[in-house]
């Protein structure tokens, strides 16, 4: 057990070894090569990969930003020592913004509704075209990312200032802006998920889709936050991490995976029971072959395994049990997005070196940005009013 005097003098700074950075650059290199090979060999598949990985990591960043905001609003004490990790993950947003703007060059390949002249032959798309058109689409991308980046930067600035100055005013300020931020996320991420994933099939709509995407983002962000905390602890940082913190993190994963399962089922159940042709088409398109398997794989990976494995108190307090669940959930997010995107963009199951390489590339970039932000400030915040509570957290 550490004393508070240890904490006062502690300056827990992350230094990234050059070897690790080289590894990340290597991963990014693999990603670039796979993407390039994809664009030459199979552009549709390459753009599908591009969208999937972009969305994958932006949902981690937004989920982490939301996680951090929730901790402030709930005035949660336990997590305050680890608040640099969600902050660092949210710092990926500016990079993601550039990638999403670059999607301009692949619009016609990815989004069926953006094809020239389709509004003349397709009445439904013509009806939706005041909303689904390329200029407005990118206006929304710019607006959403602008709002997110401004809010994330603002909260980060207050958090760093608190380190230097101290006092309660920074905490109250963070809480106030967090309250604004969750409303921004609620509205903007809803529309963002509709734009990026649901509009892949513009004839189809589902009221709960955006809520489900948001819960998926929150779930997988909580998972990755836990993963980063455990890794940092293993390499000798964040010495205050104890079994109670782990239990709290795994409660987040457990709770969110139940909510995810609930939303996923609610969407499917209503569509299956209502049996309306324009709604069932989505699942009919995705019921054959490997997509039919993926439908069940999603449920098993994202709900069943976390639900079963994190239920007992013993497993939800031990790294040995949490780490495999985290890996399962990270795969689960990939398969979920694959299940949404591939039938509409690639039209068949294609999985190979291009997919793995692109994922590795984006993972390397994400890790590089996150570790880079982590090195910029003390890993443990100073002067946070709940810091002491977080260090001695026990239940």
């Amino acid at each position: 057990m550490m004393t508070s005097k240890d904490m006062d003098t502690m300056n827990d700074k992350l230094i990234v070894p050059q070897k690790f950075k080289n590894l990340l650059f290597g991963m990014i290199g693999i990603g670039v090569i796979s993407m390039a090979a994809g664009f030459v060999l199979d552009p549709q598949r390459a753009w599908a990969n591009y969208l999937l990985n972009n969305y994958y990591f932006v949902s981690l960043a937004i989920g982490a930003a939301f996680f951090g905001a929730i901790q402030y609003i709930a005035q949660a004490g336990w997590s305050s020592a680890f608040k640099r990790i969600p902050e660092a993950m949210a710092s990926y947003l500016p990079v993601a913004a550039v990638f999403f703007l670059l999607m301009y060059f692949g619009m016609h390949t990815i989004f069926h509704w953006s094809e020239a002249g389709i509004t003349k032959t397709d009445e439904l798309i013509a009806h939706k075209s005041p909303y689904l058109n390329i200029p407005f689409f990118f206006l929304r991308v710019i607006l959403f990312f602008g709002l997110w980046i401004v809010m994330v930067r603002l909260l980060r600035k207050i958090s760093l200032k608190e380190d230097e100055v101290g006092g309660m005013e920074h905490f109250y300020k963070s809480e106030k802006y967090s309250k604004i931020f969750i409303f921004i996320i609620a509205i903007s991420f809803t529309l963002f998920a509709i734009d990026m994933i649901m509009s892949l099939e513009p004839h189809w709509y589902s009221g709960i889709f955006a809520a489900k995407s948001f819960i998926a983002a929150f779930l997988h962000a909580a998972t990755v936050i836990t993963l980063i905390v455990i890794i940092l602890n293993k390499i000798g940082h964040l010495p205050m991490l104890n079994r109670s913190h782990l239990h709290d993190y795994s409660r987040y994963i457990f709770m969110l995976s139940i909510v995810w399962g609930y939303f996923n089922f609610a969407e499917f159940m209503i569509i299956w029971y209502g049996n309306l042709p324009e709604e069932t088409a989505y699942f009919v398109n995705r019921s054959g072959g490997a997509f039919g398997v993926l439908f069940f794989a999603n449920i098993i990976l994202n709900w069943f395994i976390p639900f079963l494995f994190l239920m007992p108190r013993m497993t939800s307090r031990s790294k040995v049990f949490i780490l495999p669940v985290i890996v399962v959930l990270m795969i689960g997010q990939y398969t979920e997005l694959y299940y949404y995107i591939w039938p509409d963009v690639v039209h068949e199951v294609k999985f190979g070196i291009i997919e793995i390489g692109t994922y590795l590339g984006f993972l390397g970039l994400f890790t590089l940005v996150v570790t880079n932000t982590l090195t910029k400030a003390s890993l443990v915040p100073r002067n946070h009013p709940y810091l002491e509570e977080s260090i001695y957290h026990q239940f």
Binding site: F265, F268, M269, W272, Y273, N275, M311, P312, R313, Q394, F395
Partner: protein
């Protein structure tokens, strides 16, 4: 009802003196029968080593409920009395799930309530078995069974008083 049990009772004013006395007593090998506090205290929960298995029981109640509910609905809708509803198959598994979730929660709640009641011997209309009424307000009580305390009465009395007990007294279990 426990006949002719004689208790030694230590009364404490606040959490810290209670926890100190509790840990000191455990260290010296005193066998503690029970601790009554106005609110739950972590150190007491871990120190008493009273691990509950009711969560495991609840899991198996849930498993039992899921199997019985799905089996029951399958039997009713497919085997015993198949009916056509708007072209749906007889085995409408997704619509069984909603009922299963809700009824499983209900089953777990009722069965764990019953299990808990049986294990702690309480039933509706039972008279409350309160050792010291002040433990329901703001006092902290350590209860010792005089027959198996692990230490002499004077030593324990002295130990509690040194640790800040406001009162140490004896009481018969059946003289409520």
């Amino acid at each position: 009802m426990i006949m002719n049990k004689r208790y030694l009772i230590g009364v404490f004013d606040d959490e810290h003196t209670l926890v100190d006395a509790f840990e000191k007593a455990l260290e010296k090998g005193v066998v503690i029968e029970e601790v009554y506090t106005p609110y739950p205290i972590h150190e007491i929960l871990t120190g008493m080593k009273n691990k509950t298995n009711i969560t495991t029981a609840a899991f198996f109640f849930g498993l039992f409920a899921v199997i019985m509910l799905l089996g029951g609905m399958y039997w009713a809708a497919v085997v015993s009395w198949p009916l056509h509803f708007g072209g749906k198959p007889f085995n409408t598994f997704p619509s069984f799930i909603v009922v299963t979730i809700v009824a499983t929660i209900l089953t777990i709640t009722i069965l764990t309530l019953l299990t808990f009641s049986v294990r702690s011997k309480i039933y509706p209309g039972k008279k409350a078995d309160i050792i010291d009424i002040r433990a329901t307000d703001d006092k902290f009580i350590i209860l010792l069974d005089q027959e198996k305390m692990g230490m002499g009465k004077p030593e324990i009395t002295k130990l509690f008083q040194n640790q800040g007990a406001t009162e140490v007294y004896e009481k018969d279990a059946n003289t409520n």
